[in-house]
Symmetry: D5
Subunit: 147 residues, 10 copies
């Protein structure tokens, strides 16, 4: 049986071979773009139908479809501090703005957190005369500390 | 002369004593909320006027105002992997969704990054019948790899 | 102004001097035992009344009471892997049983987590003919992964 | 000969293929649910009968059964600090409440520890109007420091 | 109030000044040599009488005596891997012989551990024609894994 | 040619298959129990005769015998801090008692170390009415710092 | 499909076998020397034509050419701190001169960074009577912190 | 006596108070810009005259001048991997281009290194229509491996 | 093509099989003993003739000879702090005497280093009535800090 | 009472103030140069006479003399991997030549180590037409593994 990591590798390779995009995969699967991408990279379990739709489009077999349905052990960074520059910038945002975000969550909501479980994510390119921008929206349920 | 870290500590204490909010500080300073918070926590240098407005509201002295104007050496986490749960959830988002964000930036923009320098940040509480949400917007200029 | 860590140190010392117990402090504060202990060790913010009741019993001053009310930056281990044997055994439980607990949460509840925010904790000594036992109950809301 | 890790992988795969649950495995083996799960994940040695009952239900061969009987070198985390969110929450509990638990063990029992060897574990879903809860019970013999 | 670490430092200094030995301290305290040394270095709590006997001999004050009676948070190495050569050799023994000791415990006793809580330690110089030897005896209760 | 690690793995497996004990191996090899175990786990080189005697008893081939004779690169822990509980307790002993042992070596012998090279080790189960004990004896030559 | 790392390994081997130089590869590819080297080592994606020209010269197949075109996950050091002396000296330069470079960027440009994305690199041997020199030019766009 | 680190702190503060630039300091000292900056930050020892000229301009005392003349223990990063974004980009350059630089040094010079001891550094702002650039020149003597 | 590490492994195995010594290899290669050993372990590139002479004596093939000629990426420790006791003692020497060596280099030569590139090494057994000694000579060119 | 580290700092400062050299200190103390330097940096205990001679020459008080006589906890590096370039080169030697030295010790002496306890060290500047050299001699007793 394939591991989720091997299945993700197969998905990446099939994308190169078939030229299918994450957007097309999301449409075929019928789920949001970022969720679908994360699931195909092994971070969320798919339903049988979702896995089937994705593997059909990517011309992959039943073994990949099965792996996509299993429960993941999540976590995808290559190291505690990510090395790839595109991913590192997200870490840098936490280094520079992490306590700022904490202060603003506490001021606006109280003593609690933004959930990373009841959570959705969006990544969009936004045209801008000063140069297009990448806008990433992290949208999680507020969870107050509650005994 | 105070270090930026000591100045940030003084700001936090003065907020407790005076009851002034980050929102009031941002308004007094005349800059966006998240920028102002980050600057007062020592992650951005303030102009003389900005530092003056903030310290006046917080009833702090000239030594704090001076420290707020100096060039920061940025980085604010207590450890490579943050321990506080409110901040950790941001790290967890990178662990689970980092490669997803990387894939989507590359698909939508090409081989490059979201800048963390030409960058703005917003944190908002959004009412929701299923429980209010924290929405964090990371908005950085797209920078293509360019030789 | 005292930091939460200095306040916690003052609390520990006052307990030795006055002989007051965590149980007596919890009763005075009117909150559960483990919550009160955690709050007095600096991991939860107390209300003004709660802080006042605790510091009165411990014969501590207003500076400690104020520190107990401020928002904590949580996290209390002396190292990523705790060294003290009483605390290390909890880490050992995760090393040996962490994946077991994960499997059982997924089998009984689905793809999600036990919240550590909407969470309560209990520690009790339970008499047993084969030697008394320590029973620790971790009780957190189930949070399903939900987009 | 299979390693315990390979045997655990075979067990996980066979569970997906056969649809057998941990609860059914525990019943077949005749041991508590959490013990059985931990043993099948390679953290406890099984007797010949226990291993036989589990592998029969999972339709696995003698090589897996043999590996399940060997003495484990315990420890199952992917890193010193676990990355998977379901497991990380347990680590977060130690970060936030570890010293609290230590204080309460000492207050109730004296200078000693909760054993992680003479120890049992239970994981249960508990219905709750405010949302079902996961209740994890750690139950270990109290061991006083004794020269 | 002194911390246990400050008290240990005071003990070490007083030993230099007074010329008192660990053996004399153990005799005055009425406890075994290694236990007494460990306690005076802050790794075990002393009774009021024990602390009093030790501080009297060392000509130290009540503040040290009080600190010696408080509950320790144990752990005394300067780093995860100790640097001082005399202590490092103990770590080297675990690196070279750790799995050997594990195998022999399992062969002689079954699946379990040597307790480090119900435990005593002895360090002796043993005359030997080929050069005197240091003999360290680790003597802990066997604890079988027991659910 | 097999590595020492692969040879050790072959030895462990052959022990399960043949039911031969470390004690029987030590007797066949004609060396002390702990030395023999360590050598078969790859931490000491064996003579041709010793390796032959061990592999004959274990019904292993010449390739294993050859690997057992090669010079080891020593060190056997899975991580800087060992994870398996049976081995971890040895590390905990160093954390709690390392400086104590150092003090006692210095008091009894002077400024030097217990050698881990001119060294022998014994592990024994000792019957005890309060529960049998594991007694580990570390016996190394005293080496004074000598220029 | 080959990974970028396997493709880089194939490139290195083919260089030894064919005797082709990085300079010849850069000329064939029609891109700067350092860019071409980095791309063939897997740190930049090549166009189909570039990959074709390089693999033709190196007598490598289509699988390598395809791998050279895929999007890299960047980062090439063997450890957080590089071990190879030729590479380590670059790290040493940051250790000794990092804050100096930071001060000079801030003095000459303001609060910002040298981009490592809009960036080019040159490595040249420069004859010198006192011994030839290696001159490395790092040339990146200045990016001011800009909200 | 001041440490070099305290002297560097005094220099930074005096620069803010007096408004003196690194360029003015270099001119007063009569050494290159980057060398002077590094020396005043504690990474090179200054002669008595150099230290005198710098402290005179900065209106600092003899204690700072003395500290600037002592032999440094070099190394200035806040962590093994630097956190400040302006400095981190230099580390990122090594992560992405380190092996490229190594290959090009070996191709152009043979088996050796660029010295970081017989070494000079230059940092310049270069006007560019596409946005000004920061150009950093690392210029070290080539040292061949030589037995 | 073999990696340098695989070639080194082949060399070690061939030494066991053929009984050839490092001294004989150095003589056949016509280079110093320590250089030859390091080169055959993959830390220096050999010329075609040197590699040929060594592989002939060791009865190894052309693939090993080729690998021995390629440019190494140097660094041979199994971890940042070496675990094998024979190698660890060298690390211990740096821990105990590193700053001493630094002081003496500075006192005798000035502000600079002992080169590890223009460097030779010798290891010799020296008879001694008090027990034979291992004498290791590190002999590197003095390099002054020079701008 | 001063710690050994504070005493070492006092020694370094007094050397700057008085202009006394390590060589003069060694002569006054009557011990070898490297031993004396190491002892004054806190890595060896001095006799009362030795400490007296050194502090007299350095014009330091009795508190320093006393600290120099106490038993050290050895280990002097600022990090597991040293950062200062003069000291780092020693670490680099172990990285590149550590296994070479191990092989040569085993070939010349058998299965054992060079002692770092029964050990002496010498650092000398040696004139050389190609540039003066630093020659460091590590001279330790050979200790065979001996049960």
């Amino acid at each position: 049986m394939l591991t989720k990591k091997e299945a993700a590798e197969a998905v990446r390779n099939a994308k190169v071979v078939t030229g299918v995009t994450w957007a097309q995969l999301a449409e075929a699967v019928g789920r949001p773009l970022a969720w679908t991408t994360a699931a195909l990279l092994g971070q969320h379990p798919m339903s049988k139908e979702e896995a089937g739709a994705a593997t059909a489009l990517l011309e992959l077999g039943e073994d990949v479809a099965l792996a996509l349905q299993t429960q993941p052990t999540r976590g995808a960074l290559d190291a505690a501090v990510p090395v790839d520059p595109t991913i590192y910038r997200l870490y840098e945002v936490i280094q520079v703005y992490g306590p700022t975000i904490k202060e603003l969550i506490h001021e606006q909501c109280g003593d609690g957190i933004m959930s990373a479980i009841n959570f959705r994510l969006d990544v969009r390119r936004v045209p801008d005369p000063g140069g297009d921008r990448v806008v990433i929206t992290l949208d999680g349920k507020y969870l107050p500390y509650q005994w």
